[in-house]
């Protein structure tokens, strides 16, 4: 179980039609690999963000599978073309079943 998980995104407030913008996302999460042992020698169960997606106006932009070797607080930076005004929706899926969502609106013009 991960506590106090908070997603954050950085998306420009506006763009011109067809412009390629850079999006930055970060979520604080321990990304426990499932390989480590505690002081008693018991394996600490795996607890990671296993999938991250970004959609724009219902159309998928990026869909990422995360593996246990990815470090704590996973950060993603990627480019997206903005054809029209709308809303980016970001979703992180946790091993524990939690789903974290964040949205960001962008204007065109």
């Amino acid at each position: 179980m991960a506590a106090g998980v908070k997603p954050r995104v950085k998306v420009p407030k506006s763009a011109s039609a067809g412009e390629v913008i850079t999006i930055k996302t970060l979520i604080n999460h321990p990304m426990e690999s499932g390989q480590r042992k505690d002081s008693n020698g018991n394996i600490i169960p795996r607890s990671i963000i296993n999938r991250f997606t970004c959609d724009f106006n219902g159309q998928n932009v990026i869909d990422i599978t995360l593996e246990p070797a990815i470090s704590t607080n996973p950060y993603f930076e990627f480019d997206a073309k903005v054809p029209e005004a709308g809303e980016f929706k970001f979703t992180w899926y946790d091993d524990d079943g939690s789903v974290y969502e964040e949205t960001s609106k962008i204007k065109v013009g």
Binding site: G4, L26, N28, S71, N73, Y75, E77
Partner: protein
């Protein structure tokens, strides 16, 4: 800034490719400039303070010794992982704790106002207590005396997060710790410790950070050991590290039994090492490898 940085990165790669392996030998501080969030200008190079002039001409922030990739992470608070800790501490700042029912904000107001410039002058002589206090000691004094709360572990998460928050509002201001007056005695002790060889390897702080900065120690690039960027988010352990934890790691690496974090020895050493950086900007929480 971001675009400039990308261009700089591109040309650095091109030069590196052209020179091939020969490029690896040069390891002096680079010429990059640090501007955080496109607005906070950080002084990463300054004339050495008066007391150091006979030994070193110029002081450099550790940021100048890191790779372009590591440097870039610190140029934007969004990409700096230490800012997660700063956010967490900002909540704690507002939250009452202890029998007196007070929070930090009850006395100090907004952290941006109440703590601006504080990081730059610590460690600092405390007249009432008759001792040099680090920021950590002052935070715990506030907690036990004014808030009637439990003190935090000296290098625990709560503490290092709070020092990161307090440092963050002084970024860009020059470090300026006082080394005269009543603090002088502690400072001189710290200087003595700095030049004392310890451990099976018989290394003093100066062996690496004064005489050999810029060189490689195995795979690591030695900086001047400046502490203007603390607390520091290290990529190697993916967490914030306090000054004393770092001291402990260095002394351990000389294969010596170390002083504990928060010990009078490390307090004195912190004052002395901080004074070697007088003139560099407060940079914490910084990002290093």
């Amino acid at each position: 800034m971001n675009d400039l940085k990308k261009i700089a990165l591109g040309s650095a790669l091109a030069i590196g490719a052209g020179l091939g392996l020969a490029g690896g030998a040069s390891a002096d501080p680079d010429e990059d400039q640090l501007i955080i969030n496109g607005e906070i200008e950080i002084i990463t190079e300054a004339p050495a303070p008066e007391h150091l002039r006979d030994r070193i001409d110029t002081i450099y922030s550790g940021w100048r010794f890191r790779s372009d990739e590591t440097q870039a992470i610190q140029t934007d608070d969004f990409t700096n992982p230490a800012m997660i800790a700063v956010e967490a501490a900002a909540e704690v700042w507002e939250t009452p704790d202890g029998a007196a029912g007070k929070s930090c904000a009850s006395c100090h107001g907004a952290v941006e106002d109440g703590m601006k410039g504080v990081r730059a002058v610590y460690p600092k002589w405390n007249e009432k207590a008759g001792e040099v206090r680090t920021l950590e000691m002052q935070i715990n004094a506030c907690r036990t005396e004014h808030m009637q709360a439990e003190p935090w572990k000296y290098d625990g998460n709560d503490m290092v997060n709070m020092t990161a928050l307090i440092a963050s509002v002084s970024r860009g201001m020059p470090v300026n710790v006082a080394i005269d007056g009543p603090a002088r005695e502690t400072w001189e002790w710290g200087r003595e410790l700095y030049y004392t060889r310890t451990g099976q390897l018989e290394l003093s702080c100066a062996s690496c950070h004064e005489l050999n900065y810029g060189r490689m120690i195995r795979a690591d690039h030695l900086s001047q050991g400046q502490i203007n960027g603390f607390p520091t988010y290290r990529l190697k352990n993916a967490k914030l590290n306090s000054v004393h934890s770092r001291f402990k790691g260095c002394v351990r690496d000389t294969r010596a039994a170390t002083y504990p974090v928060g010990s009078p020895e490390f307090v004195a050493l912190e004052l002395y090492v901080a004074s070697r950086g007088n003139g560099l900007s407060v940079e914490g929480p910084s990002v290093r490898n």
